[in-house]
């Protein structure tokens, strides 16, 4: 029987093609990272000084098995990109979630408990944001030395304020709403209220920010590799490949271009995923 209301409720947002594409690329990346040893045609670290700068398969002079060509040390570009996905996802997931955890926790406490807690945390946010982010990370890496743990630490230390600021504002807004007052009247303690009442409502924003943060984490790793501060070991990273490829861009453009495209698509996927989730969760958008 036809829907007899005036049809306003019937407006559903179709899952955008962008969301499918973003999700698809990220799953592909996850699979590549997890099954890297099976998927990668060559050992990413194996060097062959006689197979340097082979072009991708469609150009003449290419070698079978080296689909996207080799770099100046004769290492297979495709395998390094696949293994690079591991580091990118580790950085994105680990750094992203730790930043989210710390930032949101502090934001939630500041936003809901207010009083001196809010004062202290807000001052902390102000101080932290007064540091120029890139310069601070370079300084930090100079202190703790390059390496995977330093990148993650650098991202967490720089970006937690992003979560804290937004979550605090959201928690403050939610706190003012009536349903919170009624919960407290029903005898639930302040912390209980915060966790069971405020958190579920603030969660959508946190999830959206988390996906965006993952994209940013991958970018920061690329910036640090560009300034030669990324991880020190041989493990391939996209940022490192881009920095190395830059020197011989005219002779072997593929060493720079393919990791650049992969990095670009990954960060784009994270941002579109974030946008898509934001629309899904946001009831206001008719």
């Amino acid at each position: 029987m036809a829907d007899l209301t005036d049809g306003r409720g019937a407006v559903k947002r179709r899952i955008g093609t962008r969301l499918w594409l973003a999700g698809g690329w990220l799953t592909l990346l996850l699979l590549a990272a997890v099954f890297a040893p099976l998927v990668a045609p060559q050992d990413p670290l194996a060097q062959d000084l006689f197979l340097t700068r082979l072009p991708p398969f469609w150009e003449e002079g290419a070698e079978a098995g080296y689909w996207l060509g080799t770099d100046s040390l004769g290492r297979d570009v495709l395998s390094r990109i696949i293994y690079g996905a591991r580091l990118a996802l580790v950085v994105a997931l680990v750094a992203g979630s730790i930043t989210c955890l710390i930032g949101s926790a502090l934001g939630l406490m500041a936003g809901f408990l207010r009083g001196w807690v809010d004062l202290v945390i807000s001052r902390l946010i102000d101080i932290w944001m007064a540091f120029p982010p890139v310069l601070f990370s370079i300084l930090l890496i100079a202190v703790i030395g390059p390496g995977l743990h330093s990148i993650i630490l650098a991202i967490v230390i720089i970006d937690w304020t992003r979560f804290a600021r937004v979550v605090r504002a959201e928690a403050m807004a939610q706190g003012a709403m009536d349903y919170v007052a009624s919960a407290q009247v029903a005898g639930r303690g302040r912390i209980g209220t915060m966790l069971r009442e405020i958190l579920p409502n603030v969660l959508p924003t946190i999830v959206v920010l988390l996906t965006l943060e993952m994209g940013i984490a991958v970018i920061v790793e690329a910036i640090l590799s560009f300034v030669n501060l990324s991880i020190s070991t041989d493990d391939p990273t996209w940022g490192g490949m881009i920095a190395e490829g830059r020197a011989s861009v005219y002779q072997a453009w593929w060493v720079l271009v393919f990791p650049l495209i992969t990095l670009f698509l990954t960060v784009l996927a994270f941002s579109q995923l974030g946008e898509g989730l934001k629309d899904r969760f946001d009831p206001v958008l008719r």
Partner: protein, 289 residues
């Protein structure tokens, strides 16, 4: 010839084609006050929006004609249609708190249409605005002209919106539940104000409301809507004497009377709702979207 003539107007949602208005037709002649009555969601305000060309993007006009002063608006190109509506018609919005632009002073929000669309000189427009602010019983209109919306009460803002609507001497005004958002004490004054100005200016008035009491006081004729269909059209006198459609009678029973505040109220019986649903379903079947 009636000033406003809506013929077989059908509205649908763009993405899933759910029907909002089903073949609505009505006539409003110059100076007549016509009420559009129905429960919320019956599509009554959609008719007003369709006439003024301010339908939400998600809604499309699937059929019908809207004749305004002898011209079918739907045949006009958008720019010409806008100009025509701007010159001939005006809207009194429902919620005065959000209908005034918070970052602009009151004066320009009344005179902009006169100067930009109708080509008045600035001084003429301002004089007109002061005139009308006086007519809507606002004291010290000059000061109000320079104030910002947030400095005024809801009632004051609705008066300003009414003044703004009548400023261009429109032939037709659509009042979209103009008093619903106000508290009761102010409602009566605003109703009396609108009725008075309508009489003085001889403007045709399409009055959208869910309150039959208001209709009885302000309107000369009315249409009763349910789920986007007009069930009954008649003069106010005949309607209140003997409503023809059972739903109308039930509706009357469910409306508190000013004259009899203690009268008991009977909700619309289920049977009538069921019959209405069948009627609508039959209509849809015949027109299968």
């Amino acid at each position: 010839m009636s000033f406003l003539s809506v013929k077989n107007l059908t509205l649908r949602l763009r993405d899933n084609r759910a029907p909002l208005l089903r073949d609505v037709s009505l006539e409003v002649s110059a100076g007549e006050v016509h009420g559009l009555v129905g429960e919320s969601g019956a599509g009554k305000s959609m008719i007003g929006k369709a006439v003024l060309g301010i339908l939400p993007r998600a809604v499309e006009i699937a059929g019908g004609e809207i004749w305004l002063d002898g011209v079918d608006l739907l045949t006009l190109p958008p720019a010409a249609r806008r100009k025509r509506v701007g010159g001939l018609a005006a809207l009194i919005p429902q919620d005065p708190l959000t209908a005034l632009n918070p970052s602009r002073r009151i004066g320009p929000q009344i005179t902009d249409r006169l100067v930009d669309i109708l080509g008045w000189k600035r001084t003429e427009a301002e004089a007109r605005a002061l005139d009308l602010l006086g007519e809507v019983q606002i004291n010290d209109p000059a000061r109000v002209m320079r104030q910002y919306p947030h400095e005024l009460s809801g009632g004051m803002r609705q008066r300003i919106l009414i003044a703004s609507a009548f400023a261009a001497e429109p032939k037709l005004i659509v009042a979209d539940e103009p008093t619903t958002a106000l508290d009761v004490t102010v409602q009566k004054q605003i109703l009396r104000l609108i009725a008075g100005m309508q009489a003085r200016h001889g403007t045709a008035l399409l009055f959208v409301t869910h309150d039959l009491g208001v209709v009885s006081k302000v309107c000369q004729s009315l249409s009763v809507l349910y789920a986007g269909r007009i069930l009954e059209q008649s003069t106010v006198r005949d309607f209140f004497a003997a409503p023809t459609h059972p739903y109308s009678a039930a509706l009357l029973g469910a409306t508190p009377k000013y004259t009899d505040p203690e009268g008991s109220l009977t909700p619309v019986p289920e049977a009538i709702i069921a019959r209405l649903r069948a009627e609508i379903a039959a209509y849809d079947e015949a027109h299968h979207g």
